[in-house]
C-alpha cells in the first residue's frame, strides 16, 4: 500500500481514517448507550424497557434517530437565529473533537499529544458554550435558567475534577494519555488503588460535568421542563443529546485512562504462557465472553415472536461470533495487532463499566438543589481535592527520598487522611446547614 500513497501524506492517513471511524461510529454508539440506559433503568425499576423495535428493542436507537431526523424543526420566533443554529453544533463538535487525543488502545489513537489530557479538558470545557448559548438564544425563561445553572455548575465542578486528575498526573509524571497508561503498567498498579479519593472526586465531578443526575440541574426535567434544550426539537435536539452522550464517553475515557489502567487488562504484568504457548489465560476472557453472548443470542433467536426479529437476533449472534473469532485470532497475530484489538476491548469494557456506574447513580438518587450542589462543590469536593493533591505529593516525595515502595501502603495512608478530612469537611457542612435551617428570629 505504501507505494500508492505519497510519503508526504503517509503519516496522516491512519489518523484521518480513525477520525472518520469515530465520527461515523460515535452517533451509533451514543444511540446504543441510550438503549443501554433504558434497559438498565427498566431492570432497576422492575420492568422490561423497549421490547418492540427489534428483538429486545435492539433496533430502537435506529428508529429513534430516524424519527428525530424527520421531525419538524421548530425555531421560536424571537430566538437569536444564528446562535440558535450554532449552539448545538458547537456542543457536539467539541464533544467529538475531544476524541482526538483519547487512546482506545495502544494502536487506536488519532493523535498522541504530549499535552493530551490538557487538550481534552480544554476542549470539553468549550462544550459548555453550546449549552449557555443555546439557553440564551432560545429566548425562554426556562432555557435561560438552565443555561445559568449550567454555567455555574460546570465551572465549579471542573475545578474539582481537574484537581482530582492532578493526583493521578503526579503519579504518572506525564500529560500524554499513552504515557499515563504506560506508567500504570510500569508501576504495576492502576492508579485507582493508589489514589482512590482522587477517583471518587473525579467520579462525582464528571457526573456533574456531563449534567447527569443527581446533578442534572441544567435540564432538570421536573423543574425547568428541559432546561437549556426546552425550545429545541427534532435533530437540533438530537445533536445536544449526542453531545451529552459523547461527553459521557469522554469523561469515562479520561477516568479509564488515568485511574483504571486504560487499555491494560487486569493483572497486565502477570504472564502464565498457557500450555507453553504465547497465550495468556486472561487474554482468553474476551473470546469466552463474546462466545457466550453469541450462544445466548442464537438460543434466543428462535424464541422471538416475529420472523424479522428472529433474523435480527441471529445476526446479533453472528456478529458476536465474528468478534469472538476476531478476539481469538488476535491472540496469534503479531504483538501490535494483538495489543491493539485486546487493548480496545479492555478499554471499552472499562468505559462501559464507568458509564454503568453513572446510570446506577442516576436511578438511585434524587436531584440536588442548586445551592446544595454549589455547596457540595465548593465546601467539600474542592477542599478535599486540594488536600488530596498535597497528601499524594508528600507521599511521592517520601517514596523518592526514603525508598518507600509500597503503593498500596500509600493508598491506605492517603485514604485514611482523606477520610479524616472528609469527616471534618462534612461536619463543617452540617454546621453550616444547621445555621441555614435555623428559624429566623
Amino acid at each position: 500500500m505504501n507505494h500508492l500513497i505519497p510519503p508526504s501524506i503517509l503519516p496522516y492517513v491512519l489518523p484521518v481514517l480513525y477520525g472518520v471511524v469515530i465520527v461515523a461510529v460515535l452517533p451509533l454508539l451514543a444511540g446504543y448507550i441510550v438503549l443501554l440506559e433504558r434497559k438498565v433503568m427498566a431492570d432497576m425499576q422492575a420492568r422490561l424497557g423497549p421490547m418492540r423495535v427489534g428483538p429486545h428493542g435492539l433496533l430502537q436507537p435506529i428508529a429513534d434517530a430516524l424519527k428525530l431526523l424527520i421531525k419538524e424543526d421548530i425555531i421560536p420566533v424571537k430566538a437569536d437565529l444564528f446562535l440558535f443554529w450554532c449552539a448545538p453544533v458547537l456542543s457536539v463538535t467539541m464533544a467529538l473533537l475531544a476524541y482526538a487525543a483519547i487512546p482506545f488502545g495502544p494502536a487506536f489513537q488519532i493523535a498522541d499529544l504530549n499535552v493530551g489530557l490538557l487538550f481534552i479538558l480544554a476542549i470539553s470545557s468549550l462544550g459548555i458554550y453550546g449549552i449557555v448559548l443555546g439557553g440564551w438564544a432560545s429566548n425562554s425563561h426556562y432555557s435561560l435558567l438552565g443555561a445559568l445553572r449550567s454555567a455555574a455548575q460546570l465551572v465549579s465542578y471542573e475545578t474539582a475534577a481537574g484537581l482530582a486528575l492532578v493526583s493521578a498526573l503526579m503519579l504518572a509524571g506525564s500529560l500524554s494519555m499513552k504515557d499515563i497508561v504506560q506508567a500504570q503498567y510500569d508501576q504495576g498498579v492502576w492508579f485507582i488503588f493508589v489514589v482512590p479519593v482522587g477517583f471518587f472526586i473525579y467520579l462525582v465531578g464528571s457526573i456533574a460535568e456531563t449534567n447527569r443526575a443527581p446533578f442534572d440541574l441544567p435540564e432538570a426535567e421536573s423543574e425547568l421542563v428541559a432546561g437549556y434544550m426546552t425550545e429545541y426539537s427534532g435533530f437540533r435536539w438530537a445533536l445536544y443529546f449526542l453531545g451529552e452522550y459523547a461527553n459521557m464517553v469522554v469523561v469515562a475515557s479520561i477516568a479509564t485512562t488515568l485511574f483504571l489502567g486504560g487499555w491494560l487488562r487486569p493483572f497486565a504484568r502477570y504472564q502464565d504462557h498457557l500450555f507453553g504457548t504465547s497465550v495468556e489465560l486472561l487474554d482468553i476472557l474476551p473470546t469466552i465472553l463474546f462466545l457466550g453472548v453469541a450462544v445466548y443470542s442464537f438460543w434466543l433467536a428462535p424464541k422471538q415472536p416475529v420472523k424479522i426479529q428472529k433474523i435480527v437476533m441471529a445476526l446479533v449472534g453472528g456478529l458476536c461470533l465474528v468478534l469472538a473469532v476476531g478476539m481469538a485470532g488476535a491472540l496469534f497475530a503479531p504483538d501490535a495487532v494483538r495489543m491493539g484489538v485486546h487493548g480496545a476491548f479492555w478499554f471499552l469494557a472499562k468505559v462501559f463499566t464507568y458509564i454503568y456506574a453513572f446510570l446506577w447513580i442516576r436511578f438511585t438518587f434524587p436531584r440536588y438543589r442548586f445551592d446544595q450542589l454549589m455547596r457540595l462543590g465548593w465546601h467539600f469536593l474542592i477542599p478535599l481535592a486540594l488536600v488530596n493533591v498535597v497528601v499524594v505529593g508528600t507521599t511521592i516525595v517520601l517514596q523518592q527520598n526514603w525508598d518507600w515502595r509500597h503503593p498500596m501502603l500509600t493508598a491506605i495512608v492517603t485514604t485514611a487522611i482523606m477520610l479524616g478530612v472528609a469527616a471534618f469537611l462534612g461536619r463543617e457542612d452540617k454546621q453550616h446547614q444547621a445555621a441555614v435551617e435555623a428559624p429566623e428570629p
Partner: protein, 384 residues
Amino acid sequence: MSDTRTDDRSKFGEGVNATVLGADEIILNMGPQHPSTHGVLRVKLKLDGERVVGSECIIGYLHRGVEKIAEHRSYQQFAPYVDRMDYVAAVSNGLGYCEAIEKLLGAEAPPRARVVRTILTELQRIASHLLWLGTHALDIGALTPVFYCFREREEILKIFEKYCGARLTTHAFRIGGLQYETYDGFEQDVKRFCEDFDKKVDEYETLLTENRIWVGRTKGVGILSAEDAIALAVTGPVLRASGIKWDIRKAAPYAAYDQYEFDIPTRQTGDTYDRYVVRMEEMRQSRRICLQAIENIPAGPIMARIGKVLKPPPGEVYHAIEAPKGELGYYVVSDGTTQPYRVRVRPPSFINLQAFDKMARGSLVADVVAIIGTIDIVLGEVDR
C-alpha cells in the same frame, strides 16, 4: 399604581403583579403544561434569580361544573360524578357522598356494608398515598420509587376491579350500602396485600428516608406553621405534619372507624420532610386498619331499606370524611324533590392549595415543585 414588592411576607394571598417588577425580577409561568404541576395547575412565579418572591396559583383549567351537574341529576345518578373529582381516590369520594345523602335521608348503612366500605376506603388511601409518593419523588428527581409504588397500587386496583369491575373511577358504593357482595377470596386478597405491604413501605423508605439528598431537598422546605395551617383551613396530612392532631376518623367517626385501633401520626415542623414522614406512617396505619377489619366482617345485609326513588325531606346536611388528602366535605341541600337543590363540595386539594404561596415564598424554583408535590393536589378536585 402601588408597588407590590413588600417585605411583609405574613400577608396571605398577595398575588403577582406582572406590571411591577424589580430590576432583577422575572415572571415565570409554570404550567398549565408542565411536567410537575400534577395536571393543569398554572403557577405564576415572580423570581429574583432562582428565588421565589411571589406566586399565584391560577386554576380552573379542568373545571367541569360538577356541582352544577348535581342539580340536574337524581341523587343516585350523581354518585358516579363524584368519582371524577379526586380521581386517584374515587372510593373515598364515593363514601363521602353516599354517607352525606344517607345522613340527609336519616338512613344508615348496615354494619357489614360499613366494614367493607372501611376496608375499601383504607385501601384507596394507600393507593392515593402511593401515587403521591411516586410522583413527589419523581418531581424531586428520584426516578425509581414511582415504579415500585405503581406495582403495589396495581395490587389494590386489582382488588377494586375484582370487587366492582372498575379500577379508577369505581363507583364502589351505593346510597344506603353496597350494590355488590364481596367476591370469594376478597378477605384473602386484602390480607395478602396487607401482609406484604409493610415490607414494601420499608423498601421505599430505604430509598428515600435517610438519603442525604432527599433529606436535603425536603427538610426545611415549604414550612407551614400550625397557626398558618389553621388560619388557612388546611386539613389532612399537611395539617398533621404541622403538629395538629386532627383526623375526622377519630374526631367524628364515620363508617366503621370507631371499631378499630389506629394512631394518628403527627410531626412538629411542618416542612416537606415531615409531610413525607406523616404520609408514610399513614400508609402503615391504613394497613393496620385493613388487617383488623378483615378479621371480622359481620354477616348480614349489605343494603339498607331506603327504596328505589330517593326523596329526602327538605333540609340541609354537611358531612365530612377524612379523604387521603384531607377533609372532604359535602354540603347537600334538599328541596324535597328527587334532585338535590344544591351540592357544594369542600375539596381538600383546593383548600390546601391556598397554603402554596405561604410555603413557596423565599424558596427556590426547585423547591416549588417539591411544594406542589407535598400538598398532594389533584386538579380534578381543585377545579371540579
